[in-house]
């Protein structure tokens, strides 16, 4: 039976059909929907599904499950694997018992990410296999295969979709969901599971020995496909293979094509291809992983081979590919005319930009408004990763590096000798993800900074996932709700105040007290995400501008809420108003009133 599935839902289906018992991960675009798509099946198939507090936690939970014989997955976005890199690298030494698949979605073009790193490099780094699916169907099929491969090799296997696989949709053939392995148990084996140096050395030797086994297994997999044609050819990785196949059809040429879906690539098939062609174009997104492999292999098999790719500027080094880019690259190699399709010049000349923005009534905007009022433009505002980074135009986001880096970067700026006020901001989910050690470090090492925890009680940016502060698990079950105040106190912050950012004056006053505090101060700006509030049925009465009182000063307009417009003379509140009331407090002329 076929279903029209999101790539991530197809991968979830693969997890279910493989009979996994533990599914864990941390939300991150473009990977978030994988864990969520497993949830509806959790109860019926006795699956443990969870949102972990971060990717390192997730991977370690999955490792524990695997070591006792249960098939397990850890799901994250590419940068999440950096957080989980510590367990990941040594996991390759210990190996696994139950199949363990690490699913990591890459994001070429940084659609919703801070960098464009390539997870295939991590596979090389750790010496483990990596599968690179081209579309949702293949992602699902590869996921099932990955579990089998993992158990066969006793190694973790990486499944690396990209944004255009994870967030693609396609008709996908679905199969039967398998019950998890019923009676596994942990078998004590210190030489495997205890990575003392004396154990690690032989495990490293073992891992190196397994490299030939990896190649032997992947050689027989169906994920690498060769079609020989003329003596010019393209070799591609993952989704680039589909772009290349379409381009070749459009160009109506008969060149050779080798589509690669496994890393390491199959030496035999690649050699056959390289010996057949005199000129090859390597087409892949992100890093030139395949290109470097082809260069190495060609030195042995076909030293005169002309290799075109990222190094020769035939394929863009950054961003994502599509059929048009690949078509033109192949046309250039095959001496066919190029097709240029520039954006319409009027689109650049007359259209207003439409960047993503904080929602109407978003409590982050209110918190930042108060922060700026209390601290002033001269202060330094390190920030973090979440919806609130969209407030960059408000002047309260001076840095954004990676999850949890706000408090630590703020501390470093202070220790480096900055004497101006420093107020950093971090969301609740991000604080619980990797902000905790940063706050502990700041308290321990006496960083005189203010930390604003913007607590909207959800992981909003990635689609409103619960976290330990919300009191609910991924399946909607009630659980312990961790108090951010208690956590901040326990980590060593003496000044901790919680305030409602919709109360503008109170929030400004709280930030002022925090600023004057002679040590580490924490302000928790707590107000539910406006989207969650609306979904929960909370309706506040909207506001209107009383044009008799409005003098057109634009103070409310500059606040930047999409619900406030300026009609030339007066401010106007549109239908987007959610009734937060912050603009009414900002207005100095009492011109904004609640609708009766």
């Amino acid at each position: 039976m076929k279903e029209y599935l999101l790539g991530n839902a197809a991968i979830a289906r693969g997890i279910l059909e493989a009979g996994a018992g533990v599914v864990t991960g941390y939300p991150g675009t473009p990977a978030s929907e994988i864990v969520e798509s497993v949830v509806p099946f959790a109860k019926k198939y006795d699956l443990h599904v969870e949102w972990a507090v971060n990717e390192k936690t997730a991977l370690e939970v999955a490792i524990g499950a695997s070591w006792m014989g249960t098939r397990a997955v850890a799901v994250m976005k590419h940068v999440g694997l950096n957080v989980a890199a510590d367990p990941f690298m040594t996991l390759a030494y210990t190996g696994v018992s139950g199949g363990l698949v690490v699913i990591v979605s890459d994001d070429p073009f940084c659609h919703s990410s801070q960098n464009e790193q390539d997870t295939r490099r991590y596979a090389q780094f750790a010496s483990v296999p990596c599968l690179d699916p081209a579309d949702p169907q293949e992602a699902k099929d590869m996921c099932i295969y990955a579990f089998e491969l993992s158990e066969e090799l006793e190694l973790p296997v990486l499944l690396r979709p990209t944004t255009r696989v994870s967030h693609a949709r396609a008709d996908v053939e679905v199969g039967r969901i398998k019950k998890r392995n019923s009676n596994p148990e942990f078998v004590k084996d210190p030489a495997r599971w205890v990575m003392l140096p004396a154990h690690a050395r032989p495990r490293h030797t073992e891992l190196l020995k397994k490299q030939d086994m990896i190649k032997a297994s992947l050689k027989n997999s169906p994920w690498n496909r060769l079609v020989l044609g003329e003596d010019a050819g393209v070799i591609t990785s993952g989704i680039a293979g589909l772009y290349a196949e379409e381009a070749i059809k459009q160009l109506e040429i008969d060149i050779s094509i080798l589509r690669i879906g496994t890393f390491p690539p199959p030496d035999g098939l690649c050699s056959e291809f390289l010996e057949h062609v005199t000129k090859v174009m390597v087409i892949e997104e992100l890093e030139p992983v395949l290109e470097e492999y082809v260069e190495r292999l060609a030195r042995e098999n076909n030293p005169d081979l002309k290799i075109l790719g990222k190094r020769t500027d035939h394929i863009p080094r950054e961003g994502e590919l599509d059929t048009l880019v690949v078509r033109n690259a192949i046309a250039r190699m095959a001496d066919r005319p190029l097709v240029e399709v520039p954006a319409l010049k009027e689109a650049e000349e007359i259209l207003p930009p439409r960047p993503p923005a904080l929602c109407p009534g978003c409590s982050h905007r209110a918190a930042y408004y108060a922060m700026m009022k209390a601290f002033g433009k001269d202060a330094i505002f390190p920030s973090d990763i979440g919806c609130y980074t969209l407030a960059v135009r408000m002047g309260t986001i001076d840095t954004c590096l990676c999850m949890g880096a706000s408090i630590t970067v703020a501390s470093g700026i202070r220790f480096g000798g900055e004497e101006r006020d420093i107020c950093c901001s971090i969301g609740d989910s991000t604080f619980l993800h990797t902000g905790l050690p940063g706050l502990l470090n700041a308290a321990y090492n006496k960083a005189r900074i203010t930390v604003a925890i913007l607590d909207n009680s959800t992981t909003a940016m990635t689609g409103h996932q619960p976290h330990p502060g919300t009191g609910f698990t991924v399946t909607g079950e009630k659980t312990k709700a961790v108090s951010l105040e208690a956590v901040a106190n326990a980590l060593g912050a003496d000044f901790v105040e919680t305030v409602d950012p919709y109360d503008v004056d109170a929030t400004i006053e709280a930030f002022k007290r925090a600023k004057e505090y002679p040590g580490l101060s924490v302000v928790i700006a707590k107000q539910a995400c406006v989207i969650s509030a609306i979904r929960a049925g909370i309706r506040r009465r909207p506001f209107v501008v009383n044009s008799e009182n409005c003098n057109g000063c634009k103070k409310c307009v500059k606040f930047g809420c999409p619900a406030i417009e300026f009609d030339g003379e007066n401010a106007r509140i549109n239908v987007l108003c959610t009734g937060c009331g912050v603009c009414a407090q900002i207005c100095e002329n009492n011109a904004i009133e609640v609708v009766d």
């Binding site: 579309d135 255009r164 589909l242 059929t323 319409l344 923005a357 930047g560």
Partner: protein
């Protein structure tokens, strides 16, 4: 050589329901037995920002519609029609909701929003046919302004290689039963608008 039967680009503003109608079209294609590929905008790009979805009916390649080859540009917002106008093929059709949504760059006075005619003129230059409709107003007439996306779906139904009943069936599986009637009205109003 033709590699797809019908390429559609659906554009609009985050929150207008671009993903919902894209999925309805995709599900309908599946019901009709056509291979279908789609690509969605998620995450940071959604927050009130410009949104583009791709749909390729009768296609088994990558999910992205190549620039210059969309058979249909379905624009839920006029400025977004122009922003993604270069995706249209010369033989393509643009279906444009004329009701603007002002970005914060305009509401805060940093940029201005061009008149409708200035938006449509360059599109007229590059494609075969442009159909404009005030889908937001028609949705209100149907009984719920939120059904604007379904008004546009109704307009689209005249141009895609899918039966109207199949689209309606896919729509009814994608929304709550209590909203079906108003959505059917919205669909019919959109379809009526391009029948003229």
């Amino acid at each position: 050589m033709k590699t797809t039967e019908c390429d559609i680009v659906v554009v609009g503003v985050g929150g207008q329901g671009v993903i919902l109608i894209s999925n309805v079209i995709g599900k309908a294609a599946l019901k009709a037995g056509l291979p279908v590929r789609g690509a969605e905008t998620h995450g940071m790009a959604q927050r009130g920002g410009s949104v583009m979805n791709h749909l390729r009916l009768g296609c088994e390649f990558g999910p992205l519609v190549p620039a210059g080859s969309a058979d249909i540009l379905l624009a839920l917002e006029p400025a977004e029609a122009l922003r993604y106008g270069h995706y249209l093929s010369r033989d393509g059709v643009a279906l444009v909701n004329t009701y603007p949504v002002l970005p914060t760059t305009v509401t805060t006075g940093k940029s201005s929003y061009p008149p409708l005619e200035e938006i449509l003129a360059p599109l007229r230059r590059i494609c075969r046919d442009i159909k404009t409709l005030d889908a937001t107003k028609l949705a209100a007439t149907a009984g719920n302004p939120q059904t604007m996306n379904v008004v546009m779906l109704g307009a689209l139904s005249k141009y895609v290689p899918l039966q109207e009943e199949t689209l309606i069936e896919a729509l009814s599986e994608s929304i709550k039963a209590k909203y079906l009637e108003v959505n059917r009205r919205a669909f019919a109003l959109g379809k009526g608008e391009v029948e003229l």
